[in-house]
Amino acid sequence: MSILNMTIKEISELLKNRKIGTVELVRHYLDSIRRQNPSLNSFVTTCEEDALEASEKAQKLIDSNDNTSLLCGIPFGIKDNICVRGIRTTAGSKMLSDFVPAYSSTVVNRLVEANAVILGKLNMNEFSMKESKEGNIFGFVRNPWNKEYAEGGLSEGTAAAVSGDMACFALGSDSGGELRQAASFCGVVGLKPTYGLVSRYGLISSASSMDQIGPVTRSVEDCAAVMSVIAGQDPLDSTSVGRSENYLKDIDKGIKGLRVGVPKEFFGSEVNTEIKESISRALENLGQEGAIYKEISIPSIKYILPAHYIISSAEASSNLARYDGIRFGHRSPDARNISEVYRFSRKEGFGREVKQRILTGTYFLSSENRERLYYKALKIRRMIFNDFRKAFENLDVLVAPVCPEVACKLTDVSGDKDHLLKMHISDVYTAGLNLTGLPGLTVPCGLDKNKLPIGIQIVGREFSEKLLLQVGYAIEKTVGKLSPGEGDKYGI
């Protein structure tokens, strides 16, 4: 095994036993980024000097104190819509191509306080909106399992960085499922926490009632370790909730008596047979561990897509109104008056899909359509929320696919309008949790015939992350950690 694909727990032990130093560790990761990133396109900015400086500080702490945090000296990457003071943060948009924040997000501050080491910023679709025609300004991310493949048309650098041995863990964001989908396509663990559990201060908003920051990691235990640091109330985010726990404690408690619901609407004919089989095997394994599972029905699942599309477009049109070309972001050099500053800067700064979403959202929020479409979507949101809540009256968790298909070939992504529609349709498995605020954990549960990863999604009640991680741990134990194994070639 290489240091480049070990878990946080394993590396932390090596660091504490002086088998490796933090500076040496970070150098291995920076080398790996130099080697792999040109083909994977996961990192868009690296911070070598800062990373080496931070790792020296971490080493001093380890040398002087045996009780350092589990994350001390651990190198990680950050999605490029999470602000870090002094480091360019673009949200994948030309609009912010030279934006350098004057402050850091709370999640980053917490990880830096735990002495984790920032390696750099990770690629993403423009403002997290799926894009088929142009990709984002940095181009598509390739799947470390097979570089001919995308992450299902997404450009989420988070999962590719972790799976491709370029970061020990990553911070991503999830507004409709992008964090979980990318994690599933790349065979790593991803968690969308309950809305409010992790502070959004310093996250560039897209759909602010649904956006949530979460970890992407190599193991369920690593996910618990990162969550234990980033979760909790933040005075700078009024929607944050003080419900954090030690998520590592009792993670191996077992799942005897766990009541699992399998919503039949999530397992229709559009879901790939291999994915269904893989999830069935995972369920059987859970059964052997003492869980009881049964099929259930949540009829409103079929309305997730229209409700999510309306609300996310409406919120994006409102949130992206702040890009006026004045205080930050692109300003058109051709503007002659204040109106042209707004109109030209926004025309030039935003990509095709983002403009389409802003226009769509503006349409939904116009006085003629607000009641008929936007408020109707908010009512559907309530209906979906009530249906999920009802399902949890007699159940502890639900399971679902993360996506109906495994990752697709890059050649199938670019330029295909129908593909974009297909990508939005596949959000039905993930976006319900953004609408309802519920947490969802994706864990690898197998490989398909082309050796591409398949993920299973475990959904829980509000603030049930601890239970989700216990269930994820039980699944991981039977499946084992999946790894494309490339890191072994460069082992130390």
């Binding site: 500053v341 979507a377 009512k379």
Partner: protein, 98 residues
């Protein structure tokens, strides 16, 4: 209702995005197909008396103490703007001078 070029240009004006006529046709076509799908789906659901759900958090918002703090990073903040003058954001005249 079909979204035509004229309506699209009106929406673009509200959203403060400059769009030319050819682009407008393209955007209108896509918006039209999205709305077609959405209206059909929404029409399946009866208009009942459900309370619209703008936010998932039923709990009260969390307030912090109302204390004056100083964010002493003016140069860093201004550094994000494309055009500044004398330590201020610089914009063209807002009022038409003529």
């Amino acid at each position: 209702m079909a979204v035509g070029k004229e309506l699209l240009l009106k929406i673009a004006d509200i959203a403060a995005i400059s769009i030319d006529e050819t682009e407008a046709e393209d955007y209108a076509k896509e918006l039209d197909s999205v709305i077609g799908y959405i209206e059909q789906k929404l029409s399946e659901i009866p208009d009942d008396d459900l309370e619209p759900m703008e936010h998932v958090l039923s709990a009260q918002s969390f307030f912090r103490a109302d204390e004056v703090t100083n964010f002493d990073r003016k140069a860093e903040l201004l550094g994000s703007a494309s055009v500044t003058k004398n330590g201020c954001h610089f914009v063209p005249s807002v009022v038409d001078p003529s």
